[in-house]
């Protein structure tokens, strides 16, 4: 009897096991099927009570952990600087807070993206990327990340169970996600520990990771487990336009590098020990972060200082290229001013460190964010009026908030980190460097960050919505224009709708509520609606979820005497001249405004009359056009849509206004430039050729 029941139980378990296996084969990193999960619950691995995630606060200015810590990575890596190889062991402790047993674990192996048939390279070749067009494949571009062994504590070596999956595009040659089924599912609230040995061949820098000359940026360099999010594993392949998504936790990383290397990394440095073989082992610890990056170069020059944040002292470390040493102060100044504004406007910076890397010139390592660790981008020749270093540093620091702490899913909601960050970038840079000149202010030419964001958007205005998977955009231009430029423009326009103060409150509320979590787009949009008290659904439907284009224009402006039909009437001009500039004629004026695009939203129109009078009109923008009519002893001088210039989303700013008396000043000015250049080129050609 007992034997019979055991046989039945074994058969049931077998059936469910096979079902679970098949489900995994078809859905790869998709959510675990409920039925096998429930069945597996019964046979889940017993909790190893000796495992836990540390509750250390060594790297944060806080007495208690700031995040719900899911992972603890202990990595011991050795870097071969000559071959650009990393050999490492990784102990990952994972806390199952999903509320259900987990029978498989997907891992990111990001460095495998840099292989000719990988999805990343295919997409970059097809759509372009900011790093390389892959006109021809070069061996130095090859990167790989190989798990040589993986053991699940208590379940033995499961290396043979590893298999690559491609949940996004089914590319069998893509090895950026690997899945590990575990023999015994991990019960809810239990811990599981993975012991991994891995080997990495770093590529020449691509996608802000890799080596250049004697420099290395170690980003996305270790096997990283996916995120259980919204009831499923979220572990996407690495795409040319995607970034990352990971759980918060604790990092203890030992890096063994040649002794001549200057090193910087995420977290705080705990120790540095010289080894007999001319290497040194530097140990770092990070709390409440979700990634770990590091960089070495034998030529870094180091600048250190302390910033007093709201939470406590922050050690600022700048690792500068020798040729950029004279810009170190410039780097520090913009970081300090940015920190000031972020703390004042959005919330405290809680970490004890911030490491700023000035990466190797001509590398694809410029402008990248990792927790407490960012890379800038400058050149040995950088005039004061060209604010590119400030732009990059502010942007990457902003990611400490919008990615580092508010850890949105960069694969699926790229606009929530890049776009929100671009919006705050406009605000902060406007504040530091001045509106309309925070990118360029030299030789009489200026360019503002908010307009730069808008320009990048209007070039792809009708291509893709913001709410789109990062890899699903038409191409990299569309991805960039929409996730960065459109989002910034949408939020700046929103600021005009709800008011700047309200928007600031909403942004602060969003940060404070969702820091150290993985908020969704709904979380963000709901926060703004709650704080503003306005129904913004129509705006969000068009701006965030749609690809409608906003373009209002002044269609016509006309003023005619009311009694135009009377004979022998003087012309308007004659009348004015006769009466010494005073015109008693009664005029009928019309101003027509046109909604050219399919994006409808209320707008303001300001009409100016020649007696100095100004009238502001409000139009709900729902119909295609509207006409305003006036009978006054004055003629219309000009009409302007959005006179306060808050609608950043408008595709064409030039047709937003109409002045009755034309002014060719701008045309003549440009004409002079064009003529000058044309003449000079002609002279130069004649100089050398004849």
């Amino acid at each position: 009897m007992q034997i019979r029941w055991k046989v039945v139980l074994v058969l049931i378990a077998l059936v469910f096991g096979v079902t679970a296996f098949l489900a995994r084969k078809t859905a790869t990193a998709a959510p675990q099927s409920t039925a096998p999960a429930k069945a597996a619950m019964a046979s889940a691995a017993s909790t190893d009570t000796s495992l836990s995630i540390p509750d250390t606060t060594i790297a944060v200015n806080s007495s208690a952990p700031l995040s719900q810590r899911v992972v603890h990575y202990e990595i011991n890596a050795k870097y071969d600087a000559a071959k650009h190889i990393i050999d490492a062991t990784e102990v990952l402790t994972y806390h199952n807070l999903t509320g259900q047993p987990l029978d498989h674990f997907p891992f990111h192996l990001y460095q495998n993206a840099f292989q000719p048939n990988a999805t990343w390279v295919r997409e970059a070749k097809r759509d372009g990327s900011r790093d390389t067009a892959y006109d021809k494949w070069e061996a130095k571009e090859y990167g790989s990340e190989e798990i040589r062994s993986i053991e699940v504590v208590g379940q033995g070596d499961l290396t043979s169970q590893l298999h690559y999956i491609a949940p996004d595009d089914g590319n069998k040659d893509d090895k950026t996600v690997i899945d590990l089924p575990v023999a015994k599912p991990i019960a809810p609230n239990a811990f599981v520990q993975f012991k991994i040995a891995f080997h990495e061949q770093m590529p020449e820098t691509q996608a802000r990771s890799g080596w250049k000359r004697d420099f290395l940026l170690g980003g996305q360099w270790f096997p990283k487990v996916g995120v259980w999010w919204q009831g499923a594993w979220n572990c996407h392949q690495y795409h040319a336009t995607t970034e990352f998504f990971a759980d918060f936790g604790v990092y203890d990383v030992k890096l063994t590098v040649p002794q001549n290397e200057v090193i910087g990394a995420s977290g705080v440095e705990v120790s540095s020990v010289n080894n007999p073989d001319n290497t040194k082992t530097v140990t770092y610890h990070g709390d409440d972060i979700h990634d770990f990056a590091w960089s070495v170069s034998p030529r870094y020059k180091v600048r250190e200082s302390t910033y007093q944040s709201q939470s406590g002292p922050v050690k600022l470390t700048f690792l500068m290229q020798p040729a950029h040493w004279d810009q170190a102060e410039r780097h520090e100044r913009v970081i300090r001013e940015t920190l000031d504004r972020f703390e004042k406007w959005y919330g405290p910076y809680p970490y004890k460190t911030l490491t700023v890397i000035d990466p190797e010139p001509d590398s694809a390592a410029e402008g990248m964010e990792y927790p407490t660790f960012i890379t800038g981008g400058t050149n040995w020749f950088m005039p004061d009026g060209v604010h590119l270093p400030e732009l990059v540093l502010e942007h990457e620091f902003g990611h400490q908030y919008w990615y580092g702490m508010v850890a949105t899913n960069e694969f699926e909601d790229a606009w929530m980190d890049e776009g929100i960050n671009s919006y705050t970038e406009v605000k902060v840079l406007d504040s530091i460097l001045g509106k309309d000149k925070d990118i360029l202010n030299a030789a009489g030419v200026s360019m503002g960050e908010r307009e730069e964001q808008r320009l990048s958007y209007i070039s792809v205005a009708d291509r893709d919505p913001m709410a789109e998977n990062a890899w699903s955009y038409y191409n990299s231009n569309s991805y960039g224009g929409v996730t960065y430029g459109k989002t910034a423009s949408v939020l700046l326009t929103l600021e005009g709708i709800v008011g700047e103060d309200t928007m600031n409150k909403a942004m602060r509320a969003y940060f404070m509520k969702f820091r150290f979590t993985h908020p969704t787009k709904k979380d963000f949009l709901d926060t703004i609606q709650e704080v503003s008290g306005k129904d913004l659904k129509s705006y969000f439907d068009q701006a965030v979820y749609g690809s409608q284009v906003l373009d209002y224009s002044v269609l016509s402006v006309d003023s005619q005497p009311v009694n135009w039909y009377e004979e022998n009437k003087d012309t308007n001009k004659d009348k004015k001249e006769k009466k010494g500039g005073k015109d008693d004629t009664l005029y009928q004026s019309y101003v027509s405004v046109h909604r050219k695009g399919d994006f409808a939203m209320p707008i303001e129109i300001e009409i100016k009359f020649d007696n100095g009078e100004k009238i502001r009109e409000h139009w709900d923008g729902q119909s295609r056009w509207t006409r305003f009519s006036y009978v006054k002893k004055a003629q219309v001088v000009s009409a302007e849509i959005d006179p306060d210039h808050t609608v950043q989303l408008d595709r064409n700013n030039f047709n937003n206004s109409y002045r009755v008396e034309p002014s060719a000043k701008a045309t003549y000015k440009l004409s002079n430039y064009w003529t000058f250049v044309s003449q000079w080129v002609g002279q130069a050609l004649a100089w050398w050729a004849v």
Partner: protein, 321 residues
């Protein structure tokens, strides 16, 4: 008076004695460019003249407003707007080929060259200049191509050097060397052009050969003069733009026009100055001595005479007859 007066000074004197050439070339340069930029101007009129947003281009220069304007569909396709401006630069280049013989003849003359002589020289030498242009284009193109390739290879070779500034320094050094070589070639072909006009030389290859020998026999003297004049040109351009940026308000359209045209006017002078140097050199060194017939009854030798410094070449005069 020195037998070989300063090329630098005599070249400039020729330009100053014939200022009208500078004026006419400047006017031609302006007229061609003005016509060439008409499409751009018309496109700008349609977008800017009635728009208040255009103030971003008059009160300062907001680059974003400019970029937005040129990206608008109603600004027109670049082929329709920019191409005429590009062609206008080529038209000025062709005009220079056409009128340069007259200028060279004028520079060789002590007196104001009659208009008909000027145009006759232009027409007479047009085909010769086109042939010379083709030859010089081949020579200069090949040498420039090789030098730029070498420079590029050197820079690429140090691209992985850890001294970030080294590639830039090498590129600049390479550019300076290329500039000297190309200036040398320019001297060669300038002397050839001068010889063609002033010797009324139908066989272009003979002028090229003679100019080649003279260029390399007197390289330092000629190169020093040409480089000095080029430095003057650089000072005019950089100084003019500095004044434009420093002293003119962003809203001053008329002031900017006047200053920009002054820069371009003065920028024409150095190139004509180099032509003046070439003519001076030709008259000093390349003009063949005229030997008077020697009477059989007179045992004393007839004096060999060169033409006065600033008189037209007899061959040229003969050609004009």
């Amino acid at each position: 008076m020195s037998e070989n007066p300063s090329l630098f000074g005599s070249g400039l004197r020729r330009v100053m004695h014939n200022k009208r050439y500078i004026f006419w070339f400047w006017l031609l340069n302006l007229a061609i460019a003005f016509v060439g930029t008409t499409a751009l101007r018309e496109s700008a009129h349609t977008i800017l003249d009635h728009s208040l947003y255009a103030e971003n281009l008059t009160q300062g220069f907001h680059l974003s407003a400019y970029l937005e304007m040129v990206s608008l569909p109603n600004f027109g396709a670049s082929a329709a707007t920019i191409s005429p401006a590009v062609y206008s630069t080529l038209f000025f280049f062709v005009s220079t080929i056409l009128f340069l013989p007259g200028v060279l003849l004028g520079y060789s003359s002590r007196y104001r060259l009659p208009r008909e002589d000027f145009f006759r020289a232009c027409g007479r030498n047009l085909w010769r200049f086109i042939r010379l242009l083709i030859l010089s284009g081949i020579v200069m193109g090949i040498i420039a191509g090789v030098l730029f390739a070498i420079n590029g290879a050197i820079v690429k070779g140090v691209a992985e050097n850890t001294n970030e500034v080294l590639p830039f320094e090498l590129r600049m050094l390479g550019m300076f060397i290329i500039f000297l070589v190309m200036t040398t070639l320019r001297i060669w072909f300038d002397l050839a052009e001068t010889d063609i006009v002033l010797h009324d030389q139908r066989a272009v290859r003979k002028s090229i050969g003679a100019a080649f020998g003279h260029t390399f026999r007197n390289l330092f003297r000629l190169l020093a003069n040409y480089v000095a004049v080029t430095i003057v040109a650089a000072i005019i351009l950089i100084g003019g733009i500095w004044i434009w940026n420093r002293f003119l308000s962003a809203e001053s359209v008329l002031g900017a026009f006047v200053l920009s045209q002054a820069i371009l006017f003065f920028l024409l002078i150095p190139r004509f100055w180099q032509r003046g140097i070439a003519v001076s050199y030709w008259q000093q060194k390349m003009l063949a001595p005229i030997v008077a017939p020697v009477p059989v009854f007179n045992t004393s030798p007839a004096p060999a005479a060169t033409l006065p410094d600033l008189s037209p070449a007899p061959a040229a005069r003969e050609g004009m007859a």
